[in-house]
């Protein structure tokens, strides 16, 4: 009993710490213009490749731009778009998953086989192909990531809806004359949302990582917009003289992804949600 209590406290501790870090990051993304000491895209060749100083806390890059300010602004892009991807993929998955699970029959078959075909293509490769055909750019990358991601939510949701459908209270609701829409809104969606929140936490890390990978390849965020993956791409040429240029943004990606993964893991352990 005591050990169980201590275990719970321990997992809570992780949840609390991770939530705090994420809250801090959230504040940074909101207040970046006020925290950042310099303009993230202001080029100043006279101050290029400077070591850390009071004016430039983390030094400057090859164009004399403040690395610290760029990292702060980069959080906006990474977190903001990761959240957009998560919300869009989730909504799409929720709608399709519920339709598939609730309606069943050939609709279900059609949607799920379509999902199988999509899942046969490695997700990042699909995004690369999508960007290749529709052209490079942040918009295409974000859309591509949403298009590969919804299918995972849809499958999980469909499974949950299928098992929920057999529950007595759904039958009771049906018998008492509730419309399909009311059943969805009042009984099914509230039941699947907690699991989705946990899944989403894990997916946020995935989205941030892949968004930065695409920017690193030069396909996503275009210069001079500050983004962590793009910063590594720009900093890699200075690996011998100024390794800090590529080390800091990478550290940020890792920190954020670890935080999301740890949080998701702890939440899923606590609420007994299975990972996909």
């Amino acid at each position: 009993m005591k050990a169980k209590f201590r275990d719970m406290l321990k997992s809570q501790k992780v949840i609390v710490i991770c939530s705090l870090i994420l809250f801090l990051l959230f504040l940074i993304t909101i207040f970046a213009p006020w925290i950042a000491p310099n303009d993230p895209i202001a080029v100043n060749l006279a101050h290029k490749l400077q070591p850390p100083s009071l004016e430039y806390p983390l030094g400057t890059d090859h164009l004399g731009r403040c690395t610290f300010s760029r990292i702060l602004y980069g959080a906006r892009i990474s977190l903001g778009f990761a959240f957009l991807i998560f919300i869009s993929a989730l909504s799409m998955g929720l709608i399709i998953g519920i339709i598939s699970g609730y309606v069943g029959g050939w609709v279900d078959q059609l949607l799920m086989r379509f999902g199988d075909g999509l899942m046969a293509i490695p997700s990042l490769l699909f995004v690369l192909g999508f960007v290749g055909i529709w052209g490079a750019g942040l918009k295409q990358v974000v859309l591509g990531l949403i298009l590969v991601q919804w299918v995972y939510y849809a499958r999980v949701i469909r499974g949950m809806v299928l098992s929920l459908k057999e529950q007595n209270y759904i039958t009771a609701a049906k018998i008492s004359g509730s419309s399909t829409w009311i059943i969805m809104k009042k009984h099914i969606i509230p039941n699947v949302l907690p699991s989705l929140a946990v899944m989403g936490t894990l997916e946020m890390g995935w989205a941030i990582m892949n968004l930065s990978s695409m920017s690193f390849l030069g396909l996503g965020v275009q210069p001079p917009t500050p983004e962590w993956g793009a910063m590594i791409h720009e900093g890699k040429s200075y690996i011998r003289t100024n390794p800090a240029l590529m080390i800091y943004p990478g550290l940020m990606i890792m920190l954020v992804v670890i935080t999301f993964n740890l949080l998701g893991e702890s939440l899923s352990e606590r609420f007994g949600v299975k990972r996909r």
Binding site: A120, L125, I133, G135, F216, I232, V257
Partner: protein, 314 residues
């Protein structure tokens, strides 16, 4: 058993068909006119007449359904069309660059297996000890570190600072180490984690209890029974990950200037070389499906509970 294998093979075909339909749809929905893309990629200023002729050559003036069926027939003959940029068949381009990529993926798979089996197995056997904590740490870091960044960190420490390995290029085994290690890192994380969880789960099974009550030595139980079955999710992971490995290789090749297919693919994306993109995506899908099939068959062979042979004893 024969019918099971046959059934399993049959499930692949519709999925692959849907994947081809998806890529076909993606290309046809895009605002890019293949004929125009062809001339842009080849750096030719095209007249309307030339465009019209190219469209006819590509069969773009035919109904969509016929276009799709024609494309499908060609795909079945490994004909993915001709690259807009190099004017060579895509299949030739892919196969000529594949050996370097395959070398890289096999190297990383070897590293991943050699590292993760001992760590994951020991971590599962000795839960909450030092090795277990290490394995959890490793799987967290491995799952969260961006591979392109890890590649540059390796270059920075091992090539620039310590001068142990060459920065980029190919040739000797030394060139292979850093790229393979970079590509292997997320796999190590995943496999260690899978194996640990699976060992822990299997230790709760009644066959372990039965073996213990029979007085069989712990080492035999672990080595002969538990490891054999616990490794099964890891093999599934291996099959599921082949696709990710193919995309991971694209990024790692970009970091280390590895002369595999990945770099060519990135160029194709920038040039909008549609046949190359389509060819590689479909190839990856096909490989993914086939590797999953093979994994299922291997599992059937390894795990006596799945195959017929084991069932006879039950």
């Amino acid at each position: 058993m024969g019918t099971y294998v046959l059934k399993r093979i049959m499930t692949i075909i519709p999925i692959f068909l849907i994947a081809t339909l998806l890529t076909f749809g993606m290309i046809n929905l895009s605002p890019v006119d293949p004929a125009e893309a062809y001339f842009t990629a080849a750096h030719i200023q095209a007249t309307d007449e030339m465009l019209e002729q190219k469209r006819h050559e590509f069969g773009l003036d035919q109904p969509l359904l016929i276009q799709y069926v024609n494309a499908l027939i060609k795909i079945c003959q490994f004909d993915f069309g001709i690259s807009y940029v190099t004017n060579k068949p895509v299949w030739e381009e892919i196969t000529s660059r594949m050996p370097a990529t395959i070398q890289l993926t096999i190297g990383s798979l070897l590293i991943a297996i050699l590292v993760s089996i001992p760590i994951g197995f020991l971590a599962g056997m000795k839960k909450n000890t030092g090795i277990d904590h290490f394995s959890r740490f490793l799987s967290f870091i491995g799952a969260s570190i961006p591979s392109f960044w890890l590649g540059y960190l390796f270059i920075f420490f091992f090539s620039v600072k310590l001068d142990l390995f060459p920065v980029e290029g190919t040739g000797t085994w030394k060139h292979l180490i850093l790229p393979s290690l970079t590509l292997a890192f997320p796999l190590i994380a995943l496999y260690t984690r899978l194996l640990r969880a699976s060992v822990l789960e299997n230790l709760q099974e009644s066959y372990v209890l039965f073996a213990r009550t029979r007085g069989i030595h712990e080492k035999v139980i672990m080595g002969k029974h538990v490891l054999r079955i616990a490794i099964s999710p890891m093999i599934t992971g291996l099959g599921m990950n082949l696709g990710n490995l193919m995309t991971g290789a694209i990024i790692v090749e970009a970091v280390f200037s590895w002369p595999g297919f990945g770099r060519y693919f990135i160029d194709a994306i920038f040039n909008r070389d549609v046949p190359v993109i389509q060819g590689y995506v479909l190839l990856a899908a096909g490989l993914f499906l086939i590797s999953n099939l093979i994994v299922d068959l291997i599992q059937m062979y390894i795990d006596p509970r799945i195959s017929r042979k084991g069932r006879q004893y039950q």
